[in-house]
């Protein structure tokens, strides 16, 4: 996530800090995915215990 390649090139000196937005958006998609993975792992363990 280096600054030179991960951002559209700024043409003004002051650009807003995008980090809070990045964190929010990844949380938005990450939370339901984590729920799905948790349920998956719960089910997958049945292969060894069922």
């Amino acid at each position: 996530m280096s600054a030179d390649s991960s951002q559209s090139p700024p043409d003004t000196a002051q650009v807003p800090d995008r980090r809070p937005l990045i964190a929010f958006t990844w949380l938005w998609v990450g939370a339901p995915l984590a729920y799905g993975l948790y349920e998956l792992v719960r089910k997958a363990t049945q292969l060894f215990t069922g």
């Binding site: 996530m1 030179d4 390649s5 991960s6 951002q7 559209s8 090139p9 700024p10 043409d11 003004t12 650009v15 807003p16 995008r18 937005l21 990045i22 958006t25 990844w26 938005w28 998609v29 339901p32 995915l33 729920y35 799905g36 993975l37 349920e39 998956l40 792992v41 089910k43 997958a44 363990t45 049945q46 292969l47 060894f48 215990t49 069922g50």
Partner: protein, 451 residues
């Protein structure tokens, strides 16, 4: 709607969540089976009838991806994601109405036809944009999005089941569940619509957009190249081989070990299916990212060559070792997922970024055929073997040989892929650039390596 151009300082790491919000939603399609038993009992449907909305949805996915790709390229990702949001959500809302008034045809029209258009347009909506933002890592970028399509079912399956448990499985409970799905997915996908941006166009000294560097081929021209159809064969063979296991995973593992001292219970077989889903998802991000390092042609050599070897191991020794059977099946399924997610990057290497989304949409027709071919082969052969009095692993031996043959055909097709002839290239003046930094260097670096 003109494509939304990123403001100065916009981070490209905001684009994958936008893509994921769409793919995690439309991936719900693979959890449709949760609704089948309640629909059958509430509306008096047969199993074939209750599967129809899903099947029509997948057909519409292929058709709208194939025919809508050019529109997606023209209008940009925000337009495409908006269409996907409206179609996918209103599909659920129409289905809710259908369930409430007990009109089955409304569910077919809503979820299958209208929602299916949302699936196809949504599937291809972020591909081109992601590749443009991540010219240095196109495999990883598209892998993240297409992994989301696999992840969508993981989320929807327990979520929908829980909702039906709470609302009830009569027609009003199903209607309420459809309604909540439609509204929730609309809100969830809205993030993608609001967030997605295309990179700012690079400009020449005179202020006009600079042309794209490297090979650029239009979707129409790509269809006339052998490379497109060879890659179509590669994808079709790889998907057919993966679906061959996925389709009958639970009965297959039970049959394989039915006559051994360690038979597999129904519960354990369900765990095996879940594990395969995990491998499918992991393959989408893992193998696609690996392709950025070793090249697209090499990764498909692995998918097809090692995939054939895995099938051979299952056929020869699968019934003597449960760990070996499980391991080989997991590897095959990871290659199945990887094949899907690496395809857009392979297309980018061959045809450039100019209309890669549209070309990808057309390539997905290979998926439609494979979706029919894979289950057909395995089920038809297993049924005939059973009629002939065979049982256990003998039900699948012939299917596995056919799958090995298909993978070898795919391997040969991949070997025949060469760089696209210059007569198919677009003139530099017709393709304005809309790229992140370092684009030209990476295109020229990837082309000889992968094509």
């Amino acid at each position: 709607m003109s494509p939304p151009v990123a403001p100065p300082g916009w981070s490209r790491w905001l684009v994958p969540p936008a893509a994921l919000s769409v793919h995690l939603s439309i991936g719900q399609a693979y959890a449709w089976s949760v609704f089948k038993p309640p629909l059958e009992s509430a509306l008096g449907l047969s199993g074939t009838q209750s599967a129809l909305p899903f099947q029509l949805g997948i057909v519409m996915l292929g058709l709208s991806a194939a025919f809508g790709g050019t529109l997606v390229e023209r209008h940009g990702p925000r337009w495409a994601m908006t269409v996907a949001l409206v179609c996918f959500s209103s599909g659920f809302l129409l289905s809710a109405l259908g369930a409430a008034v007990e009109q089955y045809w409304l569910i077919v029209l809503g979820y299958g036809f209208v929602g299916g258009i949302g699936l196809g347009i949504g599937y291809i909506s972020p591909v081109s944009t992601l590749i443009k933002w991540f010219p240095d890592r196109p495999g990883m970028a598209t892998g993240i999005a297409i992994m989301g399509f696999g992840g969508g079912a993981l989320i929807a399956s327990p979520w929908s089941a829980q909702m039906l448990k709470s609302f009830g499985t009569d027609s009003s409970g199903i209607a309420l569940a459809f309604l909540v799905h439609g509204l929730t997915y609309a809100v969830f996908m809205l993030l993608g619509v609001l967030l997605v941006r295309v990179p700012r166009p690079r400009e020449r000294a005179d202020g006009r957009p600079a042309p794209l560097e490297g090979v650029q081929v239009s979707a129409r021209a790509a269809m006339r190249t052998p490379q497109f159809w060879l890659l179509w064969i590669v994808l079709c063979m790889n998907v057919t081989a993966g679906i061959g296991i996925l389709e009958k995973a639970a009965p297959m593992i039970r049959d394989f070990f039915a006559d051994t001292s360690t038979p597999v219970s129904t519960t354990a077989a369900a765990g095996f299916v879940a594990l395969l889903s995990a491998a499918n998802m992991a393959g989408r991000i893992g193998w696609s990212s690996t392709s950025d390092l070793i090249g697209r042609k090499n990764i498909y050599r692995v998918y097809l060559g090692v995939g054939a070897l895995m099938y051979a191991l299952i056929a020869l020794f699968g019934d003597s070792s449960k760990p070996l059977f499980v391991l080989c099946a997991l590897v095959v399924l990871s290659f199945y997922g990887g094949g899907f997610s690496t395809a857009p990057a392979y297309l980018k290497d061959l045809f450039g970024t100019y209309q890669v989304g549209a070309i990808h949409g057309r390539l997905l027709t290979a998926w439609s055929l494979a979706g029919v071919l894979g289950p057909l082969i395995v089920n038809w052969i297993a049924d005939h073997q059973e009629e002939a009095g065979r049982h256990g692993s003998a039900l699948y031996g012939t299917s596995f040989l056919i799958m090995i043959g298909l993978l070898v055909v795919g391997f040969a097709a991949n070997e025949l892929i060469r760089p696209v002839h210059a007569r198919h290239h677009e003139p530099a003046t017709t393709v304005p650039a809309q790229h992140a930094q370092k684009e030209g260097n990476d295109v020229s670096r990837q082309q000889p390596e992968s094509a």
